[in-house]
């Protein structure tokens, strides 16, 4: 019932159905400026690929996402481990997390535009959104550490660095990768939204804004399609990574 072939068939059929509905809807609407057809969007996307500007925008946005991720991986690991082992640290971080989780994204973006330059603003916003996701995954991982193995480390007086490397980090890996996967989709969306408003010189969000200003709806669709493809690709990358971690006994 759940064979890989069948799974793939369902995924492809669902995607094909979505494209079909999109195509029908664009025919019914009949106005490119409101709803361009899939054919037109894909053609525009190919046209975009020929321009160096597209690759620069994709590259810079990805660099921003990766940079924000890298920063947050380090910080969330450090704070997550601290909070996991010391209740006081967890309590102290609780209000910070509550604020980070509940503050409206647009509010943060607007504030960060007031406080920072456009590039830094994007990083700041992205951090604020993905930090709680990564931090929670680390904290959950620490709380689920095998008590028997923890006691083993205590009895044998294993050095902390060794324990971190051979016990804690490997135990956290599946939780952390799951956190990264949900954080990544979120990060892409938020970085692009921040770019739309912050208007750094180059970036996917900036391109969105330019296409919108030109009233080029097909362009906005094509960029959206590109982001979907990028996210699907990185998702695939992470799920392969996750599988590899799970396969290892």
């Amino acid at each position: 019932m759940n064979s890989p072939v069948r799974k793939r068939t369902w995924i492809v059929s669902s995607a094909a159905a979505a494209v079909l509905i999109w195509s029908l809807a664009s025919r019914i609407v009949g106005r490119e400026i409101l709803l361009p057809s899939p054919e037109l969007t894909v053609m525009y996307l190919f046209h975009m690929f020929l321009s160096g500007e597209t690759w620069m925008a994709v590259g810079l946005t990805l660099i921003r996402v990766i940079l924000a991720f890298a920063m947050n991986i380090v910080v969330s690991l450090a704070l997550g481990i601290a909070a996991g082992f010391f209740e006081r640290a967890e309590y102290a971080l609780t209000p910070v997390l509550t604020v980070m989780k509940s503050v409206p994204t647009m509010g943060i973006i607007l504030l960060s535009l007031i406080w920072f330059k456009s590039g830094a603003a994007v990083l700041f916003v992205c951090s604020l959104i993905i930090f709680p996701v990564l931090y929670s995954s680390v904290l959950t991982g620490i709380k689920n550490l095998d008590v028997g193995l923890l006691e083993m480390h205590r009895v044998f007086r294993i050095r902390r660095t060794r324990m971190l490397r051979h016990f804690i980090v490997p135990s956290l890996r599946p939780h952390f990768i799951a956190g990264m996967m949900s954080g990544l989709g979120l990060a892409m969306k938020v970085v692009i939204a921040a770019e739309v408003l912050a208007q750094p010189k180059i970036g996917i969000g900036t391109m969105f804004q330019i296409e919108r200003a030109r009233l080029n709806t097909t362009g906005v669709f094509a960029w959206s399609l590109l982001v979907i493809i990028l996210t699907a690709f990185t998702d695939l990358l992470f799920s392969t990574l996750k599988k590899r971690c799970e396969v290892r006994p």
Partner: protein, 218 residues
């Protein structure tokens, strides 16, 4: 190592009500008793993993422990797990050599590059035993170290472990007659809670064990 006036209760059940226990210095002390009579708890107290409600536990130096469960790192190999608690003042080559001999003696050298999920329960047990024997220790706690080994193998393993215990303070919890007789300098029987310790003559071990077996099956 000395446990004095230990009181410990779990909910309504009083496990120890002023228990005194000192293992033989530089010898093997064997603890026998029916399941649920607090043998493992006694080892956990000795290891400092749990605290008594009152009473004192005097530890003497470093402790090594074969836990009731193997407690191996699932993502590391048998060899790595066995070497994990070794003294890092030794060079990597020295550590490898020592562990190689030990794995050979415990008949798991062939499995040294396998992961815990790929080996049998008996092999995992011996990996945990190798880790405990290779670690630096003054007191060694053994909780059923020879369980899940078939009788012939058990006899061989006990014989090879024996010289490695000489001159060390060891507390051995076992149901195994062979191990108790071959290794112990002193044997105590634990009663059902509240626990009392009774010294057992080595010659009486067999009949004692038969009695415990009958108690267990009741």
């Amino acid at each position: 190592m000395r446990l004095q006036g230990i009181h410990k209760r779990f909910g309504e059940m009083v496990l120890y009500d002023g228990l005194d226990f000192s293992p033989v210095e530089n010898g093997v002390t064997c603890l026998l008793g029916p399941s649920g009579c607090g043998k493992t708890t006694l080892l956990n107290l000795a290891a400092g993993l749990i605290l008594p409600d009152s009473g004192s536990v005097e530890e003497s130096g470093r402790v090594s422990y074969v836990f009731q469960e193997e407690r191996l790192l699932p993502w590391e190999t048998v060899e790595f797990n066995a070497m994990y608690a070794m003294d890092h003042a030794l060079s990597a080559a020295e550590r490898r050599e020592t562990i190689g001999e030990l794995l050979e003696a415990l008949e798991i050298a062939d499995a040294s590059d396998k992961y815990p999920a790929q080996i049998s329960g008996g092999m995992a047990r011996r990996t945990a035993l190798a880790r405990a024997l290779a670690a630096p220790f003054d007191t060694l706690l053994l909780d059923e170290p020879f369980s899940s080994l078939d009788p012939d193998l058990r006899v061989r393993i006990v014989e090879r472990v024996r010289p490695r215990l000489s001159g060390k303070t060891v507390i051995l919890v076992t149901h195994d007659y062979t191990a108790a007789e071959a290794l112990s300098d002193a044997i105590y029987r634990l009663s059902m809670p509240p626990v009392r310790l009774t010294s057992v003559d080595k010659a009486d071990v067999k009949s004692e064990l038969d009695r415990i077996k009958r108690m267990d099956s009741d």
